[in-house]
Symmetry: C2
Subunit: 328 residues, 2 copies
């Protein structure tokens, strides 16, 4: 293993000079700097992360607690993680993936000085991890927007605004009766933050627009077909659909189109999902992109900002935007 001492010897300078060349924390003459950098390159030196973290009391690692279970929104989770990892590297940080989704894992990482900060995805409103985090003394950011006291900074997509946007669009297309085909029942009944916020925005926008709107939980399997059939049978006047359910989307889109053809009207669907998912499904009026990668990047930016400047920003919500087929 090549150490800083080898570099120093090869460059004919002291160890501390090499260190200062790397960190840039003190002025070093151009000549010396060149010599040191050449030595570093020729020896292929890279500093020992452990030694560095011991001496500098910081690890350049961010702990990420991601919900790894399959099920809802794998694409979204994946993209957020990608955003986090990519952006973290830009700031010079690496990502330690935390195994279980409990407080223990967070504590282990923080107290063992394995990470400088923590990023937590998929937080429930009354999640015990929030208290853990605020008691930990490590900077941390939630990806999500739990209700209640804001003791930890949050980054998320503005689901409430997305509800408004979808309704406005469907109304502009001429639809008077709308349905939100949402997350699976278990997500709805857990009062998962994003599902709640989406429904709230959707219903408020319906009222503001003077149209009727109903919210329906929907399994993310092919059972969604039955759900949609049920909705369309019960109220045949519903022609505007807002779908937020990745697994169900292909089934739902097909079903709605078929039933529409059968009864001779033209239902429209606005989907809320990542762009590439939307593109793989035909017959969508529009979609609202969940900017998953941007969410990850924004959360990472926020935590890096806290880390470097000590700032304590509160909440940041990314605005929704329509993408998709231009109005016919």
């Amino acid at each position: 293993m090549v150490t800083i001492a080898d570099v120093a010897q090869k460059a004919g300078v002291s160890i501390s000079t090499v260190s200062y060349v790397m960190s840039g924390k003190r002025a070093i003459s151009q000549e010396t700097r060149d010599r040191v950098e050449k030595a570093i390159d020729s020896l292929g030196f890279s500093p020992h992360a452990g030694a560095r973290s011991l001496a500098s009391r910081s690890t350049n690692v961010i702990g990420l607690q991601a919900p790894l279970r399959t099920g809802v929104d794998v694409h979204v989770v994946m993209q957020i993680v990608t955003g986090v990892v990519t952006q973290a590297r830009k700031h010079g940080y690496d990502i330690l993936l935390l195994a279980s989704d409990d407080s223990k894992a967070l504590q282990r990482a923080a107290k063992g000085s394995m990470v400088d900060a923590l990023l937590v995805m998929d937080v429930e409103s009354d999640d015990p991890r929030i208290d853990t985090l605020s008691g930990l003394g490590h900077p941390s950011v939630l990806i999500g927007l739990p209700a209640g006291r804001r003791s930890v900074p949050c980054v998320d997509f503005d689901f409430e605004a997305a509800g408004w946007l979808a309704v406005d669009r469907l109304v502009a297309l001429g639809h008077k009766r709308l349905a939100l085909i949402g997350s699976p029942p278990e997500v709805m009944s857990r009062h998962t933050s994003y599902a709640d916020r989406l429904a709230r925005g959707f219903l408020a926008a319906c009222e503001a627009n003077g149209v009727t709107g109903t919210v329906h939980a929907c399994p993310s399997t092919s059972e969604s077909i039955a759900t949609v059939d049920g909705v369309m049978t019960e109220d045949p006047g519903i022609t505007g659909f807002f779908v937020h359910n990745e697994g169900a989307l292909p089934h739902v889109a097909t079903t709605i189109a078929q039933r529409g053809r059968q009864r001779g009207d033209e239902p429209a669907i606005v989907a809320l999902c990542p762009d590439d998912v939307a593109r793989s499904v035909p017959g969508l009026a529009d979609s609202i992109a969940v900017p998953a990668e941007a969410i990850g990047a924004a959360a990472t930016d926020m935590i890096c900002e806290i880390l470097s400047s000590g700032a304590k920003p509160a909440v940041r919500l990314l605005p929704p935007a329509l993408t998709g087929a231009p109005t016919p």
Copy 2:
């Protein structure tokens, strides 16, 4: 921050005794051990990871290079990562998620002593990373099975055997003309290892069974509908389908069932995908589970074994198994 010195003082022993209690590398009397453990608990001590890695020259971290791009097989990637992370914790390791999928990232992690070993997913046959890995001096395992020299141990699902299994099943159900609806064209033409192996097993099994079999690349979007339509139009005698394409599966299943109904025969589908994906799609004859989480776990086990015993195992392929609706 609580250090080992605090623990030692509180327990009335020396620092080294505390260290030996934690590592178990030397005999410590039960009485002393109890006292130390109580001190550790009451102070909430956890050793500084950096200091530990500096002194012991090992980090207890495994670097994982996962293909984070969305697209093919998000579910599978997710489950493999879950398997890796979970199993790693059981062995006392944490997972560092590597950002980019190039050799640089691997070198950075290894040479900076950030990890003890490397796990690399999604390796192409002539991947330059293979050489990087074997030159790195760190234990490493590939998840996948590149062709060519076996310079790095591999763990993967036995796609070739899966091809045989699917054909045997479809033949047992009475089908004489089979089609493999496979990965997207770009994956096929890259000669991605798993796609090649699957096709090879499928075709060999068709020949051995005396039935005809054809292989078709298929986009993982709704365009898959056209692909399948094309296949069924061109050879209406094809009634046995083997589908290996997560994104296309819902579309493909629906299309095949519809066309079957139209022409009055009973096509059968065997799907190759994770169990939970299969469950969300109706009308599958059977499915062959991709034991994604088990693959991750097996790869982790292998690397931990190498790490602890220095063993150099070569290739491990997990056998396929049919799960699904019992024969009607």
